[in-house]
Every structure is written in structure tokens, then in C-alpha cells.
């Protein structure tokens, strides 16, 4: 579903984003992307979304040859990929229903299909009773559910989540992980960036570790770093 072949992205000032990275993620996979801050995880995602261009190598998402995609085709690519962020990125002046419906309006879906589909998805993510609330009136976990609903409403082939549990307490985070697991079971490929060791360990999925722009490990199971590694990175003070 997602394939990178010898992809290199060096930022200005010789900052390594990703270097000679190759990976293949099959349809239906659930993959954790882990690694220290500045390792290149966001770079990896931006390359897949064609937010940035690689210096060399090739990138495929489904049938899309991302590196050779014209700017006009980029929206088509992004419709195949649902995005969820740590900070939710909901529109504050729209209700829950409107936030989710927005993703369908963008694809010029009919009002009728929007009215039918949005409640279904809200039920699926467990917030059907909050449909007329505004994001500010929701808990963090509920906001993230809205964001997930918006990300999956157009049936993307891939769901990419950049630290989706970063702003959530452990219990809520677990609920969100369960939801993502359910979505994965319907056949959606999931790529999730995370620093949460306990989550990765519990889920027992494929774990891809990046360091300094290199893919240093790719295996099923555990988060795989020792606590002393965390100390070295110095980024998990509040986890």
C-alpha cells in the first residue's frame, strides 16, 4: 500500500530528514512509527502526502506514483489518506456534525448522502450524542474521535495518525487505540507515529524505528528501546 524505495530528503543546512530509506507497508497493515525527536518521522509522513518532495528515490501510495504526481493530482492522493493529528485540528466554529460533514462537502457529496453517512460514522466512533456540540465543549478524547470520524468518512485506504494520543490521558488513549484497531480491522491500513511505549507494547503490531533519518529496525512486537535511550533523547519528560 505504501512503498518507499531509497528515499532521501535532506533539508536546507544539511539537516537530514530521511536518508536512503526503503520500506513496504502492505494493505491492511497496522504500523507504529517510532524514534527520537528529529528522527524523521514527520518527514516520512510529509513525503507520503507530497507536502514535500524527496531529493531522490521513489514513493508509492496504492496506485499513486507520488514522486511523479502533478500538483493537480495531489488532492486525489490525499483523499485516499485520512489524517489525524495530536492537536485534533477541528474547526472551532463548526459543530461536530459540520466538522465531519465538511470532509464530504469538499468532495462535493450530496446533502442527502451527507445526512445519511455522518450519523453512521459518529455512531461508529461513539459520539453520536455530541453531534451538535462545538469542539470546545468536548473532552480531548471526544475531540480526537471527531477528528478520526472526519479522517475516515470518505473511506480512505490509509489512515495516518501523527501522535494521536499525545494529548490524551492513558485511559482515553487506550479507547482511541481500540477505535483505531477496529478501523484497521475493516481493512484500512494504519500508520501511527507515537512516543508512547506502553501503547506500542500492548498492541503488539509492526514497529518501524527511525533514527537520524535511517530506518534502524522493523519488526513485530515491542517498542524496543530501553529507558536509558529515552533519557538520551530527553523528550519524554512528561510521559
Amino acid at each position: 500500500m505504501i512503498t518507499l524505495e531509497n528515499v532521501t530528503k535532506i533539508y536546507e543546512g544539511n539537516n537530514v530528514g530521511l536518508e536512503n530509506a526503503s520500506i513496504n507497508i502492505d494493505a491492511g497493515d497496522f504500523v507504529f512509527l517510532v524514534g527520537p525527536s528529529g528522527a524523521g518521522k514527520s518527514t516520512f509522513i510529509k513525503l507520503i502526502l507530497k507536502e514535500i518532495e524527496p531529493d531522490s528515490g521513489s514513493i508509492w501510495v496504492g496506485d499513486y506514483d507520488v514522486t511523479n504526481l502533478s500538483n493537480r493530482e495531489v488532492p486525489q492522493l490525499r483523499r485516499k489518506i485520512g489524517m489525524v493529528f495530536q492537536d485534533f485540528r477541528l474547526l472551532p466554529k463548526k459543530t461536530v456534525f459540520e466538522n465531519v460533514a465538511f470532509a464530504m462537502e469538499i468532495l462535493h457529496k450530496s446533502r442527502r448522502s451527507i445526512r445519511r453517512r455522518v450519523p453512521q460514522i459518529l455512531r461508529l466512533v461513539g459520539i453520536e450524542d455530541k453531534r451538535d456540540r462545538y469542539p470546545m465543549e468536548l473532552s480531548a478524547g471526544e475531540q480526537q474521535r471527531v477528528a478520526i470520524a472526519r479522517a475516515i468518512i470518505n473511506n480512505p485506504k490509509v489512515l495516518i495518525a501523527d501522535e494521536p494520543t499525545g494529548n490524551l490521558d492513558p485511559v482515553t488513549a487506550e479507547d482511541i487505540m481500540q477505535l483505531l484497531d477496529e478501523i484497521n480491522m475493516t481493512g484500512t491500513t494504519i500508520l501511527m507515529v507515537t512516543h508512547a511505549r506502553d501503547i506500542v507494547d500492548k498492541m503488539n503490531k509492526r514497529v518501524v524505528a527511525i533514527e537520524n533519518g535511517h530506518i534502524v529496525r522493523d519488526e513485530f512486537g515491542q517498542y524496543g528501546y530501553s529507558d536509558s535511550d529515552f533519557m538520551d533523547w530527553g523528550i519524554f519528560d512528561n510521559e
Binding site: L49, K50, N71, R72, V74, P75, Q76, L77, R78, R79, I81, M83, R89, L91, F102, A103, E105, I106, L107, R150, N154
Partner: protein, 296 residues
């Protein structure tokens, strides 16, 4: 459809919110349009004038004083015929003159009915074969006490056409400058909205909205600014022109032997021109304002 309606409502709110910049936009576009409107008014009137006097193109018209005797008239007729370059000479009474003028003015002919007393003089029409002959006739006319004034249409038409041409060059330069200023002002106005909605735009991009979809509401705002400005310009132009026609119109018309273009004709044309420009400037402004936000 309801989406367009919603966008227009949003755009109006936004225009109200950015009052200062919106006013600057209206002002810039309206100023430009009024200058264009002035030029357009002049050139359609010059065109109409050339059209109306076309038949008299090669004619020098000698206006006779009211107290001229028949003898004097006959004398001028015979002497003028003898001047070299003169092809024919004829006498026209003030009544004939008014009738002919009425025919030529066509639709605007009714305007002459409001004149009351016929203000046109009796005249002698001298057909000439060129500018030199016309000069000769004019010089002869100054020696005759019975002649009030002379008019040579070719000269007037040529002069007017020359003036319009110079005006055209000047106006084109000014217009070009003003159009650029307008586009820049509009794009800066819309940039305020773009910044206010930057988050929404980035979310739309992640969801896979096309650039044209994202531009939609901003285009509506830009076009609305253009349309409002053009309606203001049309209203101002109409009021000024109607007033000019009402106050000095008839005098100017009999002086030039040509009617002025009617205010309603002028307004309908200006409306089309102004709206097209307003929409164009508004659209360009908003597309430019979003360029940085939307390139891949």
C-alpha cells in the same frame, strides 16, 4: 446554490470585519472606473458626433446673421461659388436646418422639440474639395459682415479624433497603473481573510480539497468587492452625466449640431464594462492573495 448564498453572506461579513481595507478596495476600484467612465463617455460622444456630421464632412457651413438681407445673401452665394476648390453652394433656411438635424439625431430627435424657438441660424453650405479650399472659404467669410461664424466639420472631427487618440494613450497608461493598484489593494484585503482562515485552509488541503474548491469563498469575496465597486461607479457616473446633459446638454448639442449620447444608453454600457472589470479585478486579486497558500 445554497453554498454560493452562504459564501456571499460570509464574504459580506468579512468585508464588514475588514472595514478599512475593504473601503480602500472600493475607493481604488471606483476611482479607476470613474476615470475609465469619463474617457468612455468622451469617446462614445465623439463617435456619435462623427457619425452624425459625416454627410457634412466636406462642407463649410457659413452661419448668417439674422438681419442679413436677401441681396447680401445672393452676393455671398455667387462670390463663394467663384472661389477655387468650391464644388457647390446652397442656401439652407433655419427651418430646413432644424428638420435635417432632427432626422439625423434619430432617436434623440425629440430633444430638439424642447428648444422652443428655433435657435438655428439660416446658413450657406459650401462644398469644398479639401482643407485648402476650406481655409479659403473661411478667410473669405471673415470679410463678410453678414456672416456670424463658420464651421468646417472635417476640421472639427479630425481635431476631436486627434484629442481622443492622445487621451486614449494617456488613459491607457493611467488605467494600467490603476488596475494594478486595484488588484494589489484587493489582494491585500483578501489576504486578511486568508490569514484569518489559514487553519481551515490547511485542514481542507489535508482532506484533499482541490485548489479551486479552497479558493471558492475567497473568489466570492473578491468578486463581491469588484461588483459593489462597479455598482457604486455606475451610480456616480449616471448622476454626473445626467446632470451634465440636463444643464449644458442642449446648448452643447446645438453648438456641435450633434446630440449627446443619452444617459440611459451610456449607463447600460458602463454597467457591463464596469461589472466585467470589477469581476476580473476581484478574481485576480483573490487568486493572487492565495498564491503562496496554495502552491503544492
Amino acid at each position: 446554490m445554497s453554498r454560493l448564498f452562504y459564501n456571499i453572506k460570509q464574504a459580506l461579513t468579512q468585508i464588514g470585519r475588514n472595514k478599512g481595507m475593504s473601503l480602500a478596495s472600493f475607493f481604488a476600484i471606483t476611482a479607476m472606473m470613474l476615470i475609465l467612465g469619463l474617457f468612455f463617455t468622451i469617446s462614445v460622444n465623439v463617435n456619435l458626433f462623427s457619425e452624425v456630421v459625416k454627410q457634412d464632412y466636406d462642407t463649410v457651413e457659413l452661419y448668417l446673421k439674422d438681419n442679413v438681407t436677401a441681396d447680401q445673401t445672393t452676393k455671398i452665394l455667387t462670390e463663394a461659388r467663384k472661389l477655387s476648390g468650391v464644388t457647390s453652394v446652397s442656401y439652407r433656411t433655419k427651418e430646413q436646418a432644424l428638420k435635417i438635424m432632427k432626422e439625423r439625431w434619430g432617436e434623440s430627435g425629440y430633444l430638439l422639440d424642447s428648444l422652443g424657438d428655433n435657435p438655428l441660424p439660416n446658413s450657406i453650405l459650401v462644398k469644398v474639395d479639401g482643407v485648402k479650399a476650406a481655409d479659403r472659404v473661411s478667410r473669405y467669410a471673415t470679410t463678410q459682415s453678414g456672416i456670424e461664424s463658420t464651421k468646417y466639420y472635417k476640421e472639427t472631427v479630425d481635431k476631436l479624433n486627434r484629442i481622443t487618440r492622445y487621451l486614449q494613450i494617456g488613459i491607457t497608461v493611467i488605467m494600467l497603473f490603476l488596475v494594478i493598484v486595484s488588484v494589489v489593494v484587493v489582494s491585500n484585503t483578501i489576504k486578511l481573510t486568508v490569514f484569518a482562515r489559514a487553519k481551515e485552509i490547511s485542514i481542507m488541503k489535508y482532506i484533499g480539497a482541490t485548489n479551486w474548491f479552497i479558493r471558492g469563498p475567497f473568489l466570492v469575496e473578491g468578486i463581491l468587492i469588484g461588483v459593489i465597486s462597479s455598482l457604486i461607479s455606475v451610480a456616480i457616473s449616471y448622476m454626473i452625466y445626467a446632470r451634465v446633459v440636463a444643464s449644458i446638454g442642449t446648448r452643447l448639442m446645438t453648438m456641435l449640431s450633434s446630440p449627446l449620447v443619452s444617459a440611459s444608453y451610456l449607463t447600460s454600457n458602463l454597467t457591463i464594462i464596469f461589472l466585467a472589470m470589477g469581476v476580473g479585478i476581484g478574481a485576480c486579486g483573490s487568486i493572487i492573495s492565495m498564491r503562496k497558500f496554495l502552491d503544492a
